[in-house]
Symmetry: none
Subunit: 406 residues, 2 copies
Amino acid sequence: MTKIVLIIADGLGDRPIAELGYQTPLEAATTPHLDRMAKEGICGQMHTIDVGVRPGSDVAHLHIFGYPMGEAYSGRGVFEVLGVGMDLQRGDIAFRGNLATMEGGKLKDRRAGRMSSSLVIEPGMKVQIEDVTFLLSPAVSHRVGVIMRGPGLTHDILDVDPHNTGEAPRRKLAKDTRKESQKTERVINAFVDHMAAYLCNHPKIKQLKAEGKPHGNFLSLRGAGEHIHLLSFKEKYGLTACCISGAGLYKGVARAVGMDILNVEGATGTLDTNLDAKVKACVEQLPKYDFVFVHMKFADSLAEVGDFKGKKVFIERIDKSLAPLLKMEDTVVFFSGDHSTACSLKAHSGDPVPAVFWGPRTVVRTDACTSFGERACQQGGMGHFKGLDVMQELLNLAGKQHLVGN
Amino acid sequence: MTKIVLIIADGLGDRPIAELGYQTPLEAATTPHLDRMAKEGICGQMHTIDVGVRPGSDVAHLHIFGYPMGEAYSGRGVFEVLGVGMDLQRGDIAFRGNLATMEGGKLKDRRAGRMSSSLVIEPGMKVQIEDVTFLLSPAVSHRVGVIMRGPGLTHDILDVDPHNTGEAPRRKLAKDTRKESQKTERVINAFVDHMAAYLCNHPKIKQLKAEGKPHGNFLSLRGAGEHIHLLSFKEKYGLTACCISGAGLYKGVARAVGMDILNVEGATGTLDTNLDAKVKACVEQLPKYDFVFVHMKFADSLAEVGDFKGKKVFIERIDKSLAPLLKMEDTVVFFSGDHSTACSLKAHSGDPVPAVFWGPRTVVRTDACTSFGERACQQGGMGHFKGLDVMQELLNLAGKQHLVGN
């Protein structure tokens, strides 16, 4: 039984950088394992959503997993709360919450110095506003998963988070005069006020403030999404699947499509994440699962602060970590990013991402590519393809594709 | 703020021509500026509508601007009358009118020797038939913009123009027995009869006839289209935009999507058009606009009469005119055609058009292309793409693309 491994190096692609001799961080990096995969596999350029379209990470992963956003996506909050391990029911509205620091009615720090939310938010914490229950759970650093459960609510509202420091949090959230919009705005504002009072009076926050340290005296909400039931990987593809990821969002998307979540020690989603442990865990899980998804976060985070040197070095770490995978037999591996993140823009870009399908010599048709990179993969035998093509091609290579017609 | 320039060389692509050593006119032409753009930019092959589809100029431009024909197109007349500067109201039906020469009830010359319509048609001229007002305005050479305004009309009718000389103009125009089809046929026939009488009795036409010169004694109608309100470039992309074009149709499409129309002296849309003046005007407008569209017409017209040598020479003139643009900084330029026009067919073809996206070295990923042409661009890093992809990719390269998802 051929196994499938899907590895996403977040924000892998980039643009030419003058200081790197007009190479991208990936092109400048020394990547013997990726180069070997390019030589033994078939390469291409992936437009995760479509040509020129600039994908968010949530929608990008949905598309790579084969779930078009029009059917599968209403807002990021859904995947954030699933990633924290919270469970969603039909009609639930989910948010990404951020501890933030307010001063004089304005947001001074939208992330409260990335303080740990577990200092002030207990798992299972609930707040009741009218007939609506808010459920909270601490997430990585300043993040908090928030579910809003009750009748007559909508996810089609603005973020409380104004997305700029120095601005007041939004209180006008309704986009229209519908009853559900008005009720949702009212209960969110009451909840936000309740949480501000709770945080300001919390001994830990008082202590941090007294010590002059970053302290979260406000809970900001963003990315409202309504739970949409998705077919699981087992139902859609007949594959048992597991996810190895440090960062919560990707665990959330994986949970939404029914993958088991494997928590690997040292897999933090931050710069010090243990990539070797992730790949080791992947190799260990392959006898148990048909499909293993491995997410490697931090190249994206480095590009978002413009650190092209750091991104290059991190990509070299990714490359090193892949060695054990290339010893696997009867395994098909897809390696790419979810999108490009341009160091020059400090943001996701709509440029395609280099990609490789690697597997046994009798399975994968090789091509002209002998190294892996944005421009090297322009010669790839897969040409240009979309995120929605990835699972179809993996099923095909693994000999698990069903017949269309007869 | 990165600026965007979109240049369309009408009918740019072609097929191999024996007399040119099986090169196309573009391949045979000496084009140092385009070759430089190919080398410094990223190339590809554009299927304006779709693979093998043979695009009309109106639909081709709509697609390049990002407006799919199913939503944005009902007939060419709309863009012809907008291009003449006429204004459309909801429910208006617009036509391209042609002065033609009739003899013995048959069309002898469908273009009346390309005589100037302004000799006989005054701007603002109106004809009333029943409760329907026909508005007329002279256009380039034999062309006349015609708007039909009134209740109970349809654009879904046949052309009066039979599209072949030696045939009688059509009088059966209705495609069905619906009341609006019957009324539209009746008022058009009455209008056409009225105009034939008007033209035959016009002193100028009598004079031309007496002198044995081409004379338009008939006004033929074609390309009925109903006005469809389109989002402007500002609304759709957030871009202020202007159009530099000699030919009316392209001005019309540009007006339909809310571009400002810039009239450049010497930009005639004919063989003697001043391409240098157009590019100079483009460079001058760039500080004022986010987006400038430049249309260069005549390679298409030469191919439509099979003049491959003339097309080659005209392409060399286009190439020369581009020099000032390549000195622009912080500017992304797209250069292609709206479709191929094959000299061998003397008609538009469904072959893809070579295309290049050019811009700063830190923005555009280069590729293997070092020259610009139909076959050279087969190596391009953009691969095959559609007209509808162009604006998305330009927004992406200019760093103006919004995020899809989160």
